[in-house]
Symmetry: D2
Amino acid sequence: MIELSANRYGKAAIRLVRVDRDATPHRVRDLTIAIALEGDFAAAHTDGDNANVIATDTMKNTAYAFGVEHLTGSIEAYAAALASHFLGFGQVARATVNVREHVWRSIDVAGAPATDALVRSGEGTRLATVAATRGEITVEAGVEDLVVMKTTRSGFTGFPRDRYTTLPGADDRLMATQVTAVWRYGAPDIDFDATWQAVSGTLLEVFAEHDSPSVQTSIWIMANAMLERHEEVDEVRMVLPNLHHWLVDLAPFGIDNDRQVYVATTEPHGLIEATVRRGEV
Amino acid sequence: MIELSANRYGKAAIRLVRVDRDATPHRVRDLTIAIALEGDFAAAHTDGDNANVIATDTMKNTAYAFGVEHLTGSIEAYAAALASHFLGFGQVARATVNVREHVWRSIDVAGAPATDALVRSGEGTRLATVAATRGEITVEAGVEDLVVMKTTRSGFTGFPRDRYTTLPGADDRLMATQVTAVWRYGAPDIDFDATWQAVSGTLLEVFAEHDSPSVQTSIWIMANAMLERHEEVDEVRMVLPNLHHWLVDLAPFGIDNDRQVYVATTEPHGLIEATVRRGEV
Amino acid sequence: MIELSANRYGKAAIRLVRVDRDATPHRVRDLTIAIALEGDFAAAHTDGDNANVIATDTMKNTAYAFGVEHLTGSIEAYAAALASHFLGFGQVARATVNVREHVWRSIDVAGAPATDALVRSGEGTRLATVAATRGEITVEAGVEDLVVMKTTRSGFTGFPRDRYTTLPGADDRLMATQVTAVWRYGAPDIDFDATWQAVSGTLLEVFAEHDSPSVQTSIWIMANAMLERHEEVDEVRMVLPNLHHWLVDLAPFGIDNDRQVYVATTEPHGLIEATVRRGEV
Amino acid sequence: MIELSANRYGKAAIRLVRVDRDATPHRVRDLTIAIALEGDFAAAHTDGDNANVIATDTMKNTAYAFGVEHLTGSIEAYAAALASHFLGFGQVARATVNVREHVWRSIDVAGAPATDALVRSGEGTRLATVAATRGEITVEAGVEDLVVMKTTRSGFTGFPRDRYTTLPGADDRLMATQVTAVWRYGAPDIDFDATWQAVSGTLLEVFAEHDSPSVQTSIWIMANAMLERHEEVDEVRMVLPNLHHWLVDLAPFGIDNDRQVYVATTEPHGLIEATVRRGEV
């Protein structure tokens, strides 16, 4: 007997830019949206019956239409409005809306921000994911593509050595990573914009300030601070590639390389993942 | 109270090419390998204690060293050997090894395959993932980046219409997708190479042969055939983006476009995911 | 005094798929088209006067409209028809149309090609560029993204050594590259499809058959054969990255690695470019 | 008769990071370097004779070695030192060194820049190219991957209409582009860092301030200002894709969309290229 197990469907890579010219400077929201639905869709699979299948083209249209009335505040609120809308269909048991915001800032002109001209910042993408059922709503926020480096106060020593170990311990190495961090809020009705600024600010500050004996410990220290300083946050999940920078051996050329010149690499890379959360008391 | 929850770490994007010049034509295995470990690693996070942390550089060295002795057969066997090796460390509770194989074929010279020259094929990447604990081993195989198209016998009609629905029903559309399919084997000791050829062959053949009332139904039909024809397979998971091709409206130019000229798009795209499996009798 | 120098404009990344269902199996042309115009466009730059500026949106519409009537033969003929059309505007002095064709092949079903289902091949992209003025037309064809490897019969020795040289000579190395080759035809009215098949076939065969003392010599040998065997070709231009594969040193692990296991790399890479042509007698 | 025409070779994608920990905050130079040589290399092509072929691996080593002694100032000075070094080989007639700098900035901690922690900025990549022969040196600087937007004061009207024109004129559109700009300096010994800051600052400011009747005019206006305000610059070359943002038609849903919600697209895109220079008096 063959049966359908977990399934979901939706529209991904919906590209929406909203411009508010009433604000000074003009406010730009540049979003990539993905919508996914779960529920009573088995007949679409097993019987070719589309009676319950809200077209993904309709999801896209709805995302744009909601861009006018429901994108006046945070991306979390916009995602929640979309999720709530799709729960209005009886066949939908869970709606998940993921929004990635590409950040723009006003161009400086003679020291002041231009009203109507912007440059896209590459310092990370803001994330928001709202997953809603009829009884529950989960709001996650986060950041990805945030590339950071510690030029000192990072090491890796004391690890076990076996037949295949050649890496020397390093008291002082260069550590670089591309942060993906997602945190879950305990409540669905906080000030999402201010909280995101605060939590991601903590992440960056603690990255800068801590001493790192390993990427593993760095995750723990950053996540701890995010939980301790921001009571809105219940759980933090991080995925940190270790983008190795290898000191170049210039001795064959009679040149001393005192932790100055490195080869930047992306392949292969370490990959460290962990979730840190508030536990039961 | 703040606590560490799920965590794992490893090395990703290990690029290994093995050449066997004893074979005629020469055999090339071009692999991208990722290794991830779970187990007794909490102290690395919470105490900065690396005593249990097998360096990811050691994992990379091991992958290359095993490339000589353990890559004589299938990539599944190679992945299993690596997973088993890492379980030899007491602190490791689960080792997961993922291998992606980039396929090359011999260049034709005067109708015969060259002995020592190859061209990389872009028709999909072969996948294998072995996850092992001390008591259990799971072997998955699959394919990704397999881009396929049905020029006819695909439609999408009968879906519900609401205020935001503008898509007309289509009796005969062009359907294109980039297949990711992963299937789980029931046993860890089958002929992995022959079975992969057979299962992925079924996937392609059924894609070609079936009539598709929706991407959802296509997944069901393909996965069913894979399970019915290949008893080694217990479960099939598919992720199919719907890479929309829109018929161009040439009427403004006085030109009839009878399902001939399309705009190929990637953003936005539908995204359909489902798992199909053998159920309890 | 500040003046406008060279300038051109157009539309790029026009994605067009044409399906011919009258053919058996169905024929699919999957194209990415770029159109660029040069001519009397100075006023658009210096005076903000768009009177001569054919909108790039119009170029896109024209590309799709011409997809019905002018894409019945080769992509070179289609590109020439578009170029000729834009020369119909008095302000256009030169029109350049570049077409990249992404190749699809029919899926095999029980040993025979399916009528209406295809898989995209990744073995290179076919190129055609037509540049036309009122007096002259140049037709170039080519291939890009063709990734090939020689497992033996490739070396690199006898190069000069200085203070910064550490590379040992290699009598027998693995050579891999991603071919970009463009060739210019002497006449604008040949059988472009058959000639492309023949010329690119020569490229692949000679790549497979020759002994390579350097990537430089490989270009010369391949280009020579393309010119010698195909009188339609006047000039061949190649750009070959040297995608280094480094033999892994497994001696520290007591393992002999007799040219078997390599690290595949893309950064950094050698980059060899040359043009070979018929000279004056 | 078949002959070798233009040819060059070198090493590309050399990834070098230099850290200066004596500076406060630590200074990071993150570079991607490409080196290309032209000269007496015909025998390598036609005779398989490598006696003149400086190995590209040696070029890479040299780039790293020079990273210690010659990367103390601007990337232009570093590129010039490398080019000069390779001209020390008699067989080299021209050496071209291209450097792309990926910009990092110190992380803010409590309002002050951290000493030893940085975040990579995505606001454009700095470019420098030095091409040197024994008699001449050309220094170009520039920027790429700089994504900018004007939310108003951009239009496109007055263009000609033909059978294939459907685009309505736009008095007030959203204009977005990814700037590639390269400028040539008249002298090889200026303050490259200060000048780059000044010239790229002018580019951004003028982008923000001008009214744009077309992308063509925008190039002219920006390039003019760069030449007028910076006498060090002799020529400016720009390549600007027009990354179209289409206003979404929400009328079918009874929603007024007064230049508020757009679809961001990348395919197809306009592509405008022009060079502006100081002319003869």
